[in-house]
């Protein structure tokens, strides 16, 4: 319809004339993508280690050596006093303390048993658990070596039964965290642009008064919403395309599945998200309110989307809530299609859900928009 044509023309003109916003629209997401992709990792690296060696024996030095050559740990200090070590931790200079007690070597050789103490800064519980795993595996390795080198002393009946355990990692054998996070980050950026820009846009017109003028014209509600929807929908898709290109060029992460599936899903997803933005705008009178409301819901959606923490780990009531979260589905699908090469039929359940939500949200937005107060 011609009305929509004129609405679109006006909207695009306004967007591109907004000189100050353009870098924010196009440059910021690029920067974010780069920074966030490298920053967003839960891997635990460069663990600062402080060793208190009260034994000063060949064994203790060998153990220290093993920690030194490990990729995970970084030695920040060695001392003789537990107190000094704890102080270091209080001062945030170290993450983990390995305490090798006196007579360690003697106890191990003579009594076949010896103790060690690990003190871990557990403020970040998850990281502490991982640090624990790494440290233990080094210690166990060391333990095995001792056993093997002392094998002559072992009695035949003391050969333990051992399972051979092999771990194999599919789709991401190097456990590259970036591969996992980047599709999700793309989702995040595209979502933020859509929700904030679109929602704020309508409220901005409300605030400066042009919305009232529009309400006096014969423009119909659905024409108005479509006129606002389309430009940002297109913009977000362009951003997505740019983002995907960057992913490929910079990170080498391509789309294992079909790129059309990605765009099809993204199109529907954006309709949902924009619909939410518009729906929120019906409740806000100032841009500040709109921003707050959008921020409020977006934070919840993003945190509960499985982007940063797995949905399976959430309590069941939270998992039920995520069923209504469009971001969750987009994150899932992006990962499935980009990394595992999933096809259209694999993502059909998520797609159907989103189609329903799109119709619902935009319907609500149109109904909620009052031309007559």
């Amino acid at each position: 319809m011609k009305t929509i044509y004129y609405l679109l023309k006006k909207e695009f003109r306004q967007i591109f004339r907004n000189r100050a916003m353009l870098p924010i629209l196009f440059v910021m997401p690029v920067v974010q993508l780069l920074v966030l992709s490298y920053a967003a990792t839960f891997e635990v690296k460069n663990i600062r280690l402080h060793i208190v060696d009260n034994d000063q024996s060949a064994f203790s030095r060998e153990l220290t050596q093993k920690f030194l050559v490990s990729d995970h740990f970084r030695l920040t200090g060695v001392s003789f006093s537990g107190r000094v070590a704890i102080d270091e931790m209080q001062r945030h200079n170290t993450d983990l303390i390995l305490h090798i007690p006196a007579y360690f070597e003697r106890d191990l050789v003579r009594n076949r048993k010896a103790q060690l103490m690990l003190s871990i800064n557990a403020i970040d519980g998850a990281a502490a658990a991982v640090e624990n795993v790494y440290a233990m595996s080094i210690i166990q390795d060391f333990n095995e070596n001792i056993r093997v080198s002392m094998a002559d002393d072992a009695l035949p009946s003391e050969r333990p039964k051992v399972f051979s355990i092999t771990q194999s990692f599919w789709f991401n054998p190097e456990l590259d965290y970036k591969t996992f996070m980047v599709p999700g980050i793309l989702v995040l950026l595209v979502t933020m642009i859509a929700v904030f820009l679109a929602g704020m846009n309508i409220v901005r017109e409300k605030e400066i008064g042009t919305l009232e003028q529009i309400n006096v014209t014969p423009i119909k509600k659905h024409q108005f919403i479509i006129g606002k929807l389309l430009p940002f929908w297109l913009l977000a898709l362009v951003e997505l395309a740019g983002g995907l290109l960057m992913c490929w060029v910079i990170f080498g992460i391509g789309v294992a599945g079909s790129i059309w599936v990605v765009f099809l899903f993204a199109s529907v997803y954006l309709l949902v998200v924009l619909g939410i933005g518009f729906f929120i705008s019906n409740f806000a009178n100032t841009q500040q309110q709109a921003m707050f409301l959008s921020w409020f819901f977006m934070v919840i959606f993003i945190l509960m989307s499985g982007l940063f923490t797995p949905i399976e780990s959430m309590p069941s009531w939270a998992q039920v809530l995520t069923e209504f979260n469009p971001v969750r589905y987009f994150v899932e699908v992006m990962r499935m299609v980009m990394l595992k090469g999933a096809g259209l039929d694999d993502i059909l359940p998520q797609l159907t859900r989103l189609v329903i939500y799109a119709v619902l949200m935009n319907g609500l937005a149109v109904v909620g928009y009052k031309k007559v107060a």
Binding site: Y6, K10, Q14, R17, I208, G209, T210, K371, V372, A373
Partner: protein, 250 residues
């Protein structure tokens, strides 16, 4: 010239916000082609009443028709037949004159041809040819208002509603603006204008005075002045508003 055909007809129109009655059962008629001044202090209820007439606010009770259309059921038809210039500036600041004309013309269903022709005529009349392609934000306030007025007339509406159109400009510019209003009235457009400048009341065919949500006077400026034995509309207002409880002085 004013006729005897009412083009706006209002009966006991009321608008309440909770317990606050902004518009209290007002009744009046506006004749086709006249310049009707809707006066009153700030807060008296003028803008609220106008918003009902232009179809963006639903009344609590009472009836009204604008250009023959019912304000409850036929708001979309009303909107096709009227033009509006709001108190706050209603054109798009970041678009050029040409783009604003194109947008509003297109929205009201003008063809590309019409838009171009009318647009050119409008710009020439205002003497803004040089600024055709500059964003409106560059223009001084007085020009913006004249522009907004002209654009509101672009689609040849039968009535044009003006909400405090001359706020914040100097008296000379106000005079020029009123000349434009006269011209439009001359062409047969009915003008419904609210203002709190009492001297502008003199320019109208008839005026109504709202005080605390009610209409306390409705007549031509001349007859009102005679009635109260004063020589200016300002004094008429002072007499009527002496006991008002709402709003501040003009």
């Amino acid at each position: 010239m004013a006729s005897i055909d009412p083009i706006i007809s209002v009966q006991r129109l009321t608008k309440k916000f909770g317990t606050f009655t902004a518009v209290d059962a007002i009744s009046f008629e506006v004749m086709k082609g006249e310049i009707f001044g809707f006066l009153g202090a700030n807060g008296a209820g003028k803008t609220t009443a106008m918003k009902i007439l232009i179809g963006i606010s639903r009344p609590t009770s009472g009836t009204a028709t604008v250009a023959g259309y019912d304000i409850y059921k036929e708001t979309e038809q009303i909107k096709k037949s009227i033009g509006y210039m709001s108190q706050r500036f209603s054109l798009y600041n970041d678009l050029t004159i040409r783009e604003n004309i194109e947008f509003f013309g297109g929205i009201y269903g003008l063809t590309q041809h019409q838009i171009r022709d009318k647009g050119e005529a409008l710009v020439e009349k205002l003497g803004l040819q040089d600024n055709y392609k500059r964003p409106i934000s560059d223009l001084p306030l007085g020009w913006k208002q004249k522009l907004a007025f002209s654009i509101a007339l672009l689609h040849d509406p039968r009535i044009i509603f003006l909400d405090e159109p001359t706020g914040g400009v100097d008296p000379v510019t106000r005079r020029i603006f009123w000349n434009m209003i006269y011209e439009a009235a001359h062409r047969g457009v009915t003008i419904f204008v609210t203002t709190h400048y009492m001297d502008e009341a003199e320019y109208c065919n008839r005026v109504s005075m709202m005080v605390d949500g009610k209409i306390e006077a409705l007549d031509s400026p001349g007859r009102l002045k005679d009635k109260y034995g004063v020589t200016s509309m300002n004094e008429v207002f002072v007499r009527l508003a002496r006991n008002q409880t709402r709003g501040k002085d003009a």
